[in-house]
Symmetry: none
Subunit: 406 residues, 2 copies
Amino acid sequence: MTKGMEKGLVSRLVVRGESRMVLLVMDGLGGLPHPETGLTELETARTPHLDDLAGKSLCGLVHAVGPGITPGSGPGHLALFGYDPLEWDVGRGVLSAVGVGMELTPDDLAARVNFCTVENGVIVDRRAGRISTEENARLCRKLSSIRIEGAEVEIRPEKEHRAALVFRGPRLSPFITDTDPQRTGLPPLQCQPLPEGGEEAVHTADLVNEYLRRAAEVLSDEHPANMIITRGFSKMPDLPTLDRLYGLRAAAIATYPMYRALAKLVGMEILETGPTISEQVECLEKNWGDYDYFFLHYKHTDSRGEDGDFQAKVRCIEEVDAVIPRILALRPDVLVVTGDHSTPSLLKAHSWHPSPILFHSRWERRDEVRSFGETACARGGLGIFPARHLMAMMLAASLRLGKYGA
Amino acid sequence: MTKGMEKGLVSRLVVRGESRMVLLVMDGLGGLPHPETGLTELETARTPHLDDLAGKSLCGLVHAVGPGITPGSGPGHLALFGYDPLEWDVGRGVLSAVGVGMELTPDDLAARVNFCTVENGVIVDRRAGRISTEENARLCRKLSSIRIEGAEVEIRPEKEHRAALVFRGPRLSPFITDTDPQRTGLPPLQCQPLPEGGEEAVHTADLVNEYLRRAAEVLSDEHPANMIITRGFSKMPDLPTLDRLYGLRAAAIATYPMYRALAKLVGMEILETGPTISEQVECLEKNWGDYDYFFLHYKHTDSRGEDGDFQAKVRCIEEVDAVIPRILALRPDVLVVTGDHSTPSLLKAHSWHPSPILFHSRWERRDEVRSFGETACARGGLGIFPARHLMAMMLAASLRLGKYGA
């Protein structure tokens, strides 16, 4: 929308208030047209409430990072929260560790772990047959017996075959390579220092390789999970909180660890909620009086898109549509419905296509869009804009930004 | 649309692939509405194939440099090729020299030359009656006898009254003024050093003035071309290649020297082609298997616009429309049709108006645009965007960019 908004400008204009905002993220919402109908998942879904709301809102398309760029969930959400995703880099390891509730100091080094199956020295299954979360927990307890010199190591189970690994000690560097080769038929890789990490990276890679050598021993009599592979070594970024940046008491209603982790990193309170969207809205209703800004995260649109299941993604969208009246009944000053990136069923993956966005506020104009869909949004009153501007727009429409200049 | 996409981000995300892209540039495509019909050249032209394709594509408007800025052909094309035109400056002299096949080292200094007619000390014709290219070649051979101290000088004919001049030697500076006064009634100017060029500019201006004094002697018995004037002194910019930046084996199918030069500067292979658009497409067909990215340049839309010949520009557009089916028959993964700038017949010159653009890919959405024209494109799904984003968009839609962030 505009280039180089002066850094810190929005923060300087913030005034506190009593208004309430809801950011409803349908993960991976945007799609591509079905070859037979020419309609995307969102355009195919029966969404009477969202369509009605679109008629009373501004619509548009939003880029998380920029034209052509496919965002991961980290940059996708950080941009929606008002953080420049090119300035703030949150590593996969940090997201995993924070997601399972581990506290990280700036010195700690975190990695994402997969249990895997190794036969004759090569990986034959990068997910160890998707072992159960309980089996995962048992193996993590077993791995906790490992002691290495130079760092304390903690490993905690995530879901199925995934775990989070944290090294705690002096001189740890994130500038080391993954040991996950990202495909089968190869051995787990050695961890290598990257040139920009200097001596500390050499030291860190040694520690990681020593730990993994010991892990192989500990898991040698297990099956199918007889090894671990690591990726996304990273340290905690020093993200300023939403309170500090934008004067917001913010809360997250999210069911998946990674999104709870992202929310926590920007200083949101993580609310306890049941797993369904209806229970998530119940949580919103219950906590309505206590926060300024609610981040409501719905995961399944992305998951079904990644499965390549067009019709299942359609049904997920319809499921969310059904709760819109309950959110509106709370009379939010601003309600935004969008995605953190697109996940077209046809691509079975995150994509670069901008996300449809619906921006509802009594202090906003209207446009000619009368249904919530990608094609209609392309002609909406918001145009196509970078997601990092969304926070200022939400603050403004909830009357929380003062005037710039005399 | 978006602020300073982090430098190098797109390059870091590139993955190589087998997909094929075509960028069809109709030079100076965009226009202004005819006062009688209210339709631009493109809107007046009968373009059944482009209209049909628009219905299966995303459309929009694209700025080469920025709102209000009229681009020369250099920045216009560099932006489309994925180079920020404000960062990379390619001088007129370099374009001329590379265009006629001269090899330039980073030390060489190139200028664009016009043969002109001088009477009683003042220029009476800046183009020497548009002498023939053969006469030009004869005069260049004659000028090649000149030897000056401090640099080797080479002059080569372009078309008609135009030539390229290259100085080779130590301590040459591009910070010197043109000797072309840009209008008749004035004498050829003395070459002056510019302050930012320091001592080297003083030295260079002396060399140039010495050379031009000798050229005047050599040409004194000629008519009408009895002098040369110079402009656009410049050195070779250190442009990274498309291969290095974007992993692309790129080829150019262009008939005019300047566009071939621009393509060469970014590392494209220059393919041999006949002069008509039909022969250019034949060249595309013949080389289809050998490159990832084809730049197909059609010159006449710009030339007829500069002539102010509205109807002739309309006919040129129709000529290109006729070959669209042959390009589509190659099944490119991405086909983009646009201009490097607008050249409205009513202005008889390059203009600042954004160029209509059509973006076709099976991995893109559709919009509601059903004909290819400026007014329709203004409501297209791509919105109005800076041309330097086009390369990322083309790479994405040909599945050649990985994900950003965890």
